[in-house]
Amino acid sequence: MTDRGSDPAAATQAPLPEAVAAPSPGPAAPLGTSQSSIVWGQFRKHRLAMFSLYLMAALYGAALFADFIAPYGEGQSFRRGEMNRSYAPPTTIYWTDPETGRLTRPYVHPVAPVRDAQTLRVAYVEDRTRAYPIRFFVEGRPYVPPPLSLVPVGIRNALGWDWSATTRLYGVEFPATIYLWGADQFGRDVFGRVLFGARISLTIGILASLIALVLGTILGGIAGYVGGVVDDVIMRLVEVFATIPSLFLLLALRALFPIEINPTAIFVVLVTILGFISWGSIARVVRGLALSLREEEYVLAAKALGGRDARVLLRHVLPGTAAYAIVAFSLLIPSFILTEAGLSFLGLGISEPASSWGLMLAVAQEGGIQTFTQRPWMLLPGLFIFIAVLGFNFLGDGLRDALDPKLRK
């Protein structure tokens, strides 16, 4: 931003969005530091932001490799007869040999559901006579390995790509089961479903923010650059959108779709709605900057040279607003994660059999709030919402500081 007036060519040749989206230290450039390496250098000084960057990278990695890390498939349930594991508590892992008391390879005891005759509640009793060691790189249910899993199912089928993998990081042999963080109502592994849920919870915010970024930048840019009636109309629209608390707007739009709707469709619907109702904050920022940028000499020069309005706007005005738009963008992501979680919690967002953190929390309340002291592990997904939102907030803070030339030392 500092060289905006003096060196417009650099600003247009190296558009900021890319520079910020994929910051890379690269080889040291002693002569003339590029905008991206200045920003990256600043960003690296923000310790909490750097920590969040690693943390979020780990979360995204875990989401991508969820099939490998989780011992069971996303929908794999244990709910019948002897194999009923509904609300089974976290499995105890034993490290010592009961006879010698020495360290041994970790093992678990199988559990059996026992119904209490009086309370009718199911308790899980360990069978201490049998031990099953935890094995690594075991065979499990087949799954589509990443990066192939990123390709939509339709395209995969059309191209005949149907490779699958069966190796999972850890597991125990049947009839023993291993639940690091307990099981949910259908006897599904909460740990695994937190990882699977991360896929939805962590992408929905970014995709929706991208829609808001594109809409906000274009509409805000047009409002500021063209001005007059166009400006008035767009900004009044922003005001009206800002007047309805966004959750209510979201609920109104959500009411237009059936309650029971398949997870993929609702994912698309949520991303679109979130993006379409939230571009206002970005539009405001971009418009303010565009108003001043359109008077800059390099913009006037571009116009004088015969540049069409669309070209001048896209090549000369909008790149100058990128830094601020990106900060606004990064601060939208955490709010979207919270909104998605809230909607899914209410039963209006992602629905079974897919998993999302908000949906998993809704189950905590299911079957009467009184009983949920018996399964505190069902509250764990909330911790991940918290961590993800906090991580993105720190990233946004770091980005804002890094992009603000006034704070540079």
Binding site: A252, A255, Q370, L379
Partner: protein, 307 residues
Amino acid sequence: MIGYVVNRTLAAVVVVFGVSSLVFFMLHLLPGDAVTIMLSEFGASAVEEQQLREQLGLTDPILVQYGRFLANAVQGDFGTSLFSRRPVLPQIFEQLPKTLELAVAATIVGVLFGAFFGITAAVMRNTWWDSISMLISLLALSMPNFWLGLIFIFVFSLNLGWFPVQGSDTLWHVVLPAFALGLSFAGLLARLFRSTMLEVLGQDFVRTARAKGVAEPSVINRHALKNALIPIVTVIGINFGFLLGGSVIIEIVFARQGIGNLIIKAIFAHDFYLVQGGIIVTAALFVLVNLIVDLTYGILDPRISYA
């Protein structure tokens, strides 16, 4: 002054009109229409569907429907609930006090905690306390309020038994929901308080007070704080929507009565008129709060002129 009041009131009316129109067109123009969705879950025939459409006046051109909607809305008629067969507006007003109770209680929690952390952080700027309070405020801001609500129920109601688990009958019932909702609001306010306070502390009159030899506590309390407190009213107004939105989920978590609970139930029952009315009333409430804020601002800060 009177001119200003009239202007602001008219602007507020225009915004409410805009919001109502937006909600109306959103609910009527988008492909998924009320009747289709309603009947797809009850399994009605095409004839029945047509009958219901005619009965509700949905076969008329959209602009005719819009005109009728506006004419009725002005008279306070937002239609009849498809489910309970009662007019929408009284149902909403019945639930309003409980939601306001929660919003006000959460505001109090938010302002108390937000002011404490924000102002002390600004006064002790760049110290460990500043960093800690800003970290705490960001933690509070990032906490999903319904998760916090569940944890509160878990710890304070079920384990310790200090508070009732759910419901909204007594004032005692509002404590946990108000904290669940108000703490993230406090996080937001703390950051705003800190920046306003820092701004005021950097102003000439503060320097003058210090130059005169006024003791530091007195500089903070009598000179800076008073001026920093003025913007708080605006901040509360602007973020009232944040509280209204949050109250929806909190009402569900704590099984409280209120507008949020009403709207969610209406959505599940496909009660379109109730959803529409509920959202318009909420938005109008939000506009009203901000109007009051705008008007009282001049009283609080005599420097503002309404020329």
